[in-house]
Each structure stands twice: as structure tokens, then as C-alpha cells.
């Protein structure tokens, strides 16, 4: 169960990574064609914003949650006694799972609505957005599952936090 879930989250992270490479190539090509031949790739802005970016942000979210890579403040926490650490983590994971479930539910309703009305964005080209909207409940939902898995791991006494210094940003 644990390993299957890890594989799934890792796989989705790789799809997000593919999104990064595709977006990079798409925008670069668009700029080159625009500057030299005045022939931009129609829809680059819309596809990048609504497809690549949504994939890059949402698909790895479960892995980020599962691997304890979200940005948090652990100054006080590090000085907590063990029992308080456990309690804080438990409260945090339950709250995280709860909030993410609300996000999943509402963005899920939106995705369904977008699908029914066949929502499009207008740009240089009309682009349907419901498939992109579906990535939100998928990402939030799996991240909620990740939080629930961490509750179980915490109760089983397995490690749920990691020291992640170099992977962080800015």
C-alpha cells in the first residue's frame, strides 16, 4: 500500500516534470518564431497557463505532502518534547486532510460543471478547460490521501518528518 502510493505520487511528479520540459520548449519555440518570422505559436499563453502550469503545480502535490516538502516553520517545534511533537503532527495532519478534502470537493464540483457546459477560455484560440480543471481535485485529493497516510504512519510510529534543507528554495 505504502509502496504503491509512493510509486503513484512519484509517477505523477514525473508527469509534472514532463510538463516543465514541454512548457519550456513551447515558449522558447514561440519566442523564436515570433522574433524571427513574426509567426507565434497560437495559444501558447493559454496552453502554458491552463495546462502545463496546472499539471506542474497539481500533479506533484501529493508527493510534496507525502515527502514532507511543504514550506513550514519548525523553530518552536524543534524544541517541543516528544509527546507534544506527536500531538502537533497529529493535529496538523488531520487539519491538512480536512482542508484538502474541502478543496477537493469544491474544485471537483467546478470540474464537473466545466465539463457539463464545455467551458472554454478565449485567447488567440479557443481552448477547452475542463480537463485542466480536473487536475485540481486530482492533486488536492491525492494530497489529502497523503495526509491521511501520514496519520497512519504517525500512529504506527514510523518517521513522518524529514530534514530537508537543500531542496528548499530562494
Amino acid at each position: 500500500m505504502d509502496r504503491a502510493f509512493r510509486k503513484l505520487t512519484h509517477g505523477l511528479m514525473l508527469v509534472g516534470g514532463l510538463g516543465i520540459i514541454l512548457m519550456m520548449l513551447n515558449i522558447t519555440l514561440d519566442v523564436i518564431l515570433k522574433v524571427f518570422w513574426n509567426a507565434p505559436i497560437q495559444g501558447t499563453v493559454e496552453i502554458s497557463s491552463y495546462y502545463y502550469m496546472v499539471a506542474i503545480v497539481m500533479l506533484p502535490m501529493a508527493m510534496v505532502e507525502y515527502d514532507d516538502e511543504q514550506i513550514s516553520v519548525d523553530l518552536l517545534f524543534n524544541h517541543f518534547p516528544a509527546w507534544l511533537k506527536q500531538t502537533s503532527l497529529l493535529i496538523t495532519f488531520i487539519a491538512t486532510a480536512g482542508m484538502l478534502s474541502v478543496m477537493t470537493w469544491r474544485t471537483g464540483l467546478d470540474a464537473v460543471r466545466a465539463f457539463i457546459v464545455g467551458q472554454v477560455v478565449m485567447g488567440s484560440r479557443e481552448i477547452i478547460v475542463w480537463p485542466a480543471r480536473c487536475m485540481l481535485p486530482l492533486g488536492f485529493g491525492l494530497a489529502a490521501v497523503a495526509a491521511i497516510m501520514r496519520i497512519v504512519m504517525l500512529l504506527l510510529g514510523r518517521p513522518v518528518t524529514k530534514i530537508h534543507e537543500t531542496d528548499s528554495i530562494t
Binding site: 516543465i20 512548457m23 519550456m24 513551447n26 522574433v35 502550469m53 511543504q70 516553520v73 478543496m103 537543500t166
Partner: protein, 436 residues
């Protein structure tokens, strides 16, 4: 209970949740969701949950964030900096503390190829610190210089912090980028001056190099630094020359970095894979936090807290400098416990109306904010850069030594900050040229 009271309770509970080590993003979402539900009703609360995330992620300008991150991580993982450092090392060999000054210079140049201070610090710590330790530099100088100069990564464009700041304050990202150039260069020059003077008076800090200047070696090294000018000209030249937007520049920069690395035959599968993973994780976590921040902005706006704070601060004084100093004090204190992106996104929703009320130029304030956040990166206890260095060196230098080494640099940063506040033109001169 008035909306304002609920707002303040929200701010208080936010810090309570953060103390539990809840991720900043989730804490912001919970406080905003519950706050709006109590203040108005659950329909309004559900409204922000469904409307905001998708419209925020689907913001074209934000595509620059993963692209600049990727460029920086590729440059770091493929050793693009090594040539520059070696060249500066040779040029500054006879100057007191030359290796340390070469590190400042290399960090500054690397910053122009990276949008992130952490990436800059991580890259330089593996190259410059071992070299300085071998040359018998004092460990606190060897590490302090890289921890401090790494922060140039956010001040010298491109910069992830500037992209986020620009979006949240509705300022031009291109103008912010160019505004950071002079303050970045000043910071680096002040560091170098301080290093030179200190090492001249106290040679034990940094033994003089015995290396003789060798013209053949100079030209050999010169031929190995070409990737840097190409990358910097490609990205910054393209933005300021008007060939593409700051948003598009990220993709161009990442592509260029990959091309350069493959031409230099340093693009391994492992380097690429790790750069992509680092980019994906960083992007996803930054956006998660930002979604929370955007919800919090909405909650704060409805509660009237920023307005009350504006009135309170303006009643103390409506002098711009006094307000900036109050905000600076707040940032320095909070910067000790919260990391830079988190701190910026936590405070902007509340502070922005104050700044607008006092008619403070937001480009100028952006540069000051970023300098302040960067000081926060090297001040203990939560100076992320200190830990990045410590772990990159695998514990070879004690954390205490790294911290004491940054003290001198923090003093210099405060000097730079005073200059930036006293002379707004240092930040605003270049953008004013661009506007014409």
C-alpha cells in the same frame, strides 16, 4: 463580534497553527476559510475555495517561476559556475582575502543565472568553500562569505521573489528585475571592500596566496567562462532589449542553460533528472503556499484588518521613512523565524494597503523588502542559507562558525539597506530609463 475582531483573531490563530509546524499554505487556507465562513457564511467560504486556486495557477506571468528555477538548478548541477570562480580567483590572487572576494563575484554572476538564493548558495558552497578551507582561510570567513553572497541570488535578476512580489503588488516584473541590478552590485562591492580591509589588517583570516599570475592560464580560463556571458546576455539582454518578456525569458534561459551544458558535455542524465525533481518540488510547494496567501488576502480584505493597521501606522507618522523603518523592523524580527517566501506572502496582504496609503513607491519598496528578506536568510535561528551550507559541507564546518562568519556580512547588509532607503534613486534610476 465585528468583522475586524474576527480578522485579528484570524491573524493570531495563524501564528498558533504555524507554531504546530503546519505547512504555511494549509494554515493560511484554514484560517481564511474558517474566517470567511464565520464573518459571512459558508457559501462565501466555499466560493473562495473553488474560484481562487485555478485562476491563480492559470496566471501567465507565474509560468516564469518554474522556468527560472529550472535554469538555476541546471546551472548549479552542471557546474556552470566553476570557470567563473577560477578566473576571478586568478585575477584576485594578490588581493588580501582574494578567494573570498572571488566567491562574492562568482555568487553575484551566478545570481544572474539563477532566480533563487538557495540554489546560488548550494552551488557555490560546493566549489568555493572547500577551496578556501584548503587555502587555510578561517572557516567562519570561508562559509560566511558564501552564505551571505548567496543571498544576491534574489536581489540580482532574475528572481523568484521579485516575480511573486510583482504579482501580489501588481507591479511590473521587468521593472523590478532592472531595479535590483544596482542594489545587487552595491551589496557585492561592499562585501568585497569589507573582506579586503579585514584581511589586510588580519592576515590570519586569509593567508596570502603565493600563486603567480600566469597569462597562458588566464587565457585558458577566459575561454572556459563563455557560458556565463552567453546565458546572462541571452536572458537579461533579451528582457531589457525588448525581444521577449520577463515571463518568456525564463523558458529561454532554461533552454539556453541546457544547450550550454550539453555543449560543454556536462549535461548528465543524473544532473537533468535531479534539476527537474528540484524544480517540480519547489514549484509545487511555492504555489501551494501562494494559493493560501491569495485566500488570506481575500479574508484580510473583507475583515478590514489592513485598513485598521494603515490608520494606526499613519497616526504614528505619515513620513515614508518612518513607515519603512517600522516595516523593516517587523521583517527583521519575523525573518528570524519564517523563511523568505513565506514571510513575504504572509505580510503583503496586510501591509500593501499601508504602503499605498503612505504613497510609497512599490518598486523601491520591493527592492528594500527583498534585501530585508535576504538578511532574514542568514540570521539565526531560521536562516535557511546557514543550514544549506551546513548540509552541503556535510558538517565539516560547525554551524556556530558559519553563524559567526555571517555577522560581518549582516552588518554590511544593514549599511546597504540604509543606502537603499536613503537614496531611492539607487533602485529607481534604471527602471526610470526603461519607462522612457
Amino acid at each position: 463580534m465585528s468583522m475586524l475582531t474576527i480578522g485579528w483573531i484570524g491573524v493570531g490563530s495563524l501564528f498558533g497553527l504555524l507554531a504546530l509546524r503546519m505547512s504555511i499554505g494549509i494554515a493560511l487556507m484554514i484560517v481564511s476559510f474558517v474566517g470567511i465562513a464565520v464573518m459571512l457564511n459558508t457559501t462565501a467560504a466555499f466560493g473562495i475555495v473553488s474560484a481562487l486556486p485555478f485562476s491563480f495557477i492559470g496566471n501567465w506571468s507565474l509560468t516564469a517561476i518554474p522556468m527560472f528555477l529550472l535554469m538555476g538548478f541546471i546551472a548549479a548541477n552542471t557546474g556552470l559556475t566553476n570557470g567563473v570562480f577560477n578566473l576571478l580567483k586568478l585575477l584576485l590572487a594578490r588581493v588580501p582575502g582574494g578567494l573570498a572576494s572571488a566567491s562574492v563575484g562568482a555568487c553575484g554572476l551566478f545570481a544572474a543565472a539563477s532566480g533563487s538564493s538557495i540554489a546560488t548558495t548550494a552551488a557555490m558552497s560546493r566549489i568555493a568553500v572547500p577551496e578556501m578551507l584548503r587555502a587555510k582561510y578561517h572557516p567562519s570567513l570561508a562559509t560566511g562569505v558564501v552564505a551571505a553572497s548567496g543571498t544576491l541570488g534574489s536581489l540580482i535578476p532574475p528572481s523568484i521573489l521579485m516575480v511573486l512580489y510583482g504579482i501580489f503588488t501588481e507591479q511590473s516584473i521587468g521593472q523590478l528585475f532592472i531595479a535590483g541590478v544596482i542594489p545587487g552590485v552595491i551589496s557585492a562591492l561592499i562585501y568585497i571592500a569589507m573582506i579586503t580591509v579585514r584581511c589586510a589588517f588580519n592576515p590570519e583570516l586569509a593567508p596570502r596566496s603565493v600563486e603567480v599570475f600566469d597569462t597562458a592560464r588566464f587565457f585558458h580560463l577566459l575561454s572556459s567562462v563563455w557560458p556565463f556571458p552567453v546565458l546572462i546576455m541571452g536572458v537579461l539582454g533579451g528582457i531589457f532589449g525588448g525581444f521577449f518578456t520577463p515571463t518568456e525569458a525564463g523558458a529561454i534561459g532554461a533552454t539556453l542553460a541546457i544547450l550550454i551544458a550539453s555543449l560543454r558535455r556536462s549535461l548528465t542524465w543524473e544532473a537533468m533528472r535531479s534539476a527537474i525533481r528540484q524544480t517540480v518540488v519547489a514549484t509545487s510547494s511555492i504555489f501551494f503556499l501562494s494559493i493560501g496567501a491569495i485566500m488570506f488576502t481575500r479574508f484580510m480584505g473583507l475583515s478590514g484588518v489592513p485598513g485598521a493597521l494603515t490608520d494606526a501606522m499613519l497616526s504614528v507618522s505619515d513620513d515614508k521613512i518612518v513607515i519603512i523603518l517600522m516595516v523593516a523592523g517587523l521583517f527583521v524580527i519575523l525573518g528570524m523565524v519564517i523563511d523568505s517566501i513565506g514571510l513575504m506572502l504572509l505580510t503583503l496582504p496586510v501591509l500593501l494597503p499601508v504602503l499605498e496609503g503612505a504613497d510609497i513607491n512599490l518598486i523601491w519598496f520591493g527592492i528594500i523588502t527583498i534585501k530585508l528578506l535576504e538578511i532574514g536568510l542568514v540570521t539565526p535561528p531560521v536562516g535557511l542559507n546557514l543550514y544549506v551550507l551546513h548540509s552541503a559541507l556535510a558538517g565539516k564546518v560547525k554551524l556556530g562558525d558559519i553563524m559567526s562568519g555571517t555577522t560581518w556580512f549582516i552588518a554590511m547588509d544593514l549599511l546597504t539597506l540604509i543606502l537603499l532607503i536613503a537614496f531611492p534613486a539607487l533602485s529607481l534610476f534604471l527602471p526610470s530609463l526603461m519607462a522612457n
